[in-house]
């Protein structure tokens, strides 16, 4: 939304969300540190700090990566998605503490600059067992850093949603880097199978969730519409569209949402201008189509956000013949007013 930016746009739900993040992180750190100290009086502060922050960051990363596909599989997970970037910044902060403290611990006070030492101490890139795993962690941290610094809506708006989304998809690369950082790093020393099983279980869970969500979306994308007349395509009977809701159709490589509002049908492009959320999975609230992801709103008849906001999406023509909905997949310019089709 284009109202004046604030540092953090807190509202009631975001505050609850942030409190929950803080509580979960606190519980984890407290448990990890106190259990370690109970069974290992000899544990040192440095190692506790390095291990507690790194394991917490890896846990948070798994949660973050699971939220997306879970929401696509079941809408009731949406409240987790709403403020996911705060979870991401929290994860980055712990990863940064882990990374910078490890850099100090293992490389500082030596005959070489710590950052140069990070790249040059171990150059066994050809060996699996001796591989310099720290570099993997550093690259993952750089990706998390770029994501954290661009997590404000200012960047989404100015880098364009497409560039922003692409940048943030590098998190998948960062994830595999983190997994290998752990596997070629601490697991080579702490070779207890429990650690390997945990990381394996985490990876498999994420892979399954993403593939399930992806194949669900693919079904929608593979919809076929046989009946065509004068550029219009028959999509469904009118009765299938509930009031204040929409159905999404994939025609000519675009997703179009057909909304029912005040006994009329309107069609707009399915992609929200904010983060590309699925508008057709939203609902009409106060006369506006509301995106399920972050609540961005558009008027059904012209695809424009109500003032003072300035977002616009494409609109389409839709008509009803004998209780059947026909949709023309040729888009009008973003924000073009269309009359809609009256339901008799």
């Amino acid at each position: 939304m284009s109202a004046s930016y604030a540092a953090v746009g807190w509202n009631k739900q975001k505050k609850i969300y942030d409190w929950l993040i803080a509580c979960l992180c606190f519980i984890y750190l407290l448990l990890f540190i106190s259990v370690t100290l109970i069974i290992n009086e000899q544990a040192t502060f440095e190692t506790l700090l390095i291990r507690s922050t790194s394991t917490l960051a890896v846990l948070l990363l798994h949660i973050i990566l699971a939220i997306g596909p879970l929401c696509r599989l079941n809408k009731k997970f949406l409240p987790l998605l709403y403020n996911r970037r705060h979870l991401g910044v929290t994860m980055f902060t712990f990863a940064l503490v882990h990374g910078s403290f490890s850099l100090f611990q293992f490389h500082a006070l030596s005959n070489t600059n710590p950052i140069i030492s990070l790249f040059t101490s171990n150059t066994n890139f050809g060996s699996l067992a001796a591989f310099p795993f720290q570099v993997l962690g550093l690259f993952a941290l750089i990706i998390f850093f770029l994501m954290a610094i661009t997590s404000h809506d200012f960047w989404l708006h100015n880098l364009s949603p497409k560039v922003w989304k692409t940048l943030h998809m590098f998190v998948y690369l960062a994830y595999i880097l983190v997994v290998m950082h752990v596997m070629l790093g601490v697991i080579q020393y702490e070779n207890d199978p429990v650690f390997v099983i945990m990381i394996f279980a985490g990876a498999i869970t994420l892979v399954i969730l993403h593939l399930l969500a992806g194949s669900k979306e693919r079904k929608l994308d593979n919809m076929k519409f046989a009946l065509q007349r004068e550029g219009f395509v028959y999509v469904c009977p009118v009765a299938e569209i509930e009031d204040s809701r929409a159905k999404i159709f994939y025609i000519d490589k675009e997703r179009i949402a057909v909304y029912r509002h005040n006994n009329k049908l309107y069609a707009i492009h399915n992609v929200c201008k904010h983060q590309g959320g699925p508008l057709g999975e939203g609902k009409i609230l106060d006369g506006c189509i509301t995106c399920p992801w972050h609540g961005y709103q558009y008027l059904p008849h012209n695809g424009q956000s109500p003032p003072p906001f300035k977002e616009k999406v494409s609109t389409y023509d839709v008509k009803i013949i004998d209780g059947k909905v026909w949709l023309n997949p040729a888009p009008f310019a973003e924000g073009t007013e269309r009359p809609g089709a009256e339901i008799k």
């Binding site: 699996l128 067992a129 497409k162 989304k165 692409t166 998809m169 998948y172 994830y175 595999i176 997994v179 290998m180 596997m183 070629l184 697991i187 080579q188 070779n191 390997v196 990381i199 394996f200 990876a203 498999i204 994420l206 892979v207 993403h210 593939l211 992806g214 194949s215 979306e217 693919r218 994308d221 994939y250 490589k253 675009e254 997703r255 992609v271 590309g276 959320g277 699925p278």
Partner: protein
């Protein structure tokens, strides 16, 4: 979400479905195995058969050993836990002396393992036998043990 991104997601995760398990498995198999070896031992003395006196502590056990004819004597030191001192040296002395400088060195023990030290004879008229476990780097007595003088013979 845009279609290109949707497609990219599915492509990435299909690739990850193969790469992640492969990477994890390979890295797991690559954990180097360090073969335990036989350690270098100083030639061990023969342990004498009879335990004459013994003292138990949470961290160690001390035995005074002898052969059946009571002609040779040994101090056996068995660590039960890992000791944590920069130095741990055993001295043998009379009951009233606490100064290691005036005592005779028996030997040094390390953090783990069992040790056997030969004991030099003590005058028969000496009342008892005292061992001092001394950390001479911190200049502190760690522990003292008083035994009956075994050289007086069995009572």
């Amino acid at each position: 979400m845009m279609r290109s991104l949707r497609k990219r997601h599915l492509q990435i995760w299909s690739a990850w479905a193969l790469l992640l398990p492969a990477g994890i498995t390979l890295a797991w198999l690559a954990i180097p195995y360090q073969q335990p070896v036989k350690l270098l031992q100083t030639p061990a003395q023969e342990l004498l058969p009879a335990i004459i006196q013994t003292k138990e502590h949470d961290d160690y056990t001390l035995n005074i050993r002898s052969d059946h004819s009571h002609t040779v004597w040994q101090l056996e030191w068995k660590n039960k836990t890992t000791l944590n001192y920069p130095s741990a040296v055993i001295y043998k002395t009379t009951v009233h002396n606490n100064d290691p400088e005036k005592a005779e060195l028996v030997g040094r023990i390390e953090a783990r393992g069992d040790y056997i030290f030969e004991l030099s004879p003590v005058p028969h008229n000496q009342a008892g036998l005292k061992f001092i476990l001394y950390d001479f780097i911190h200049e502190a007595v760690i522990d003292t043990f008083i035994f009956k003088n075994p050289f007086r013979g069995p009572e």
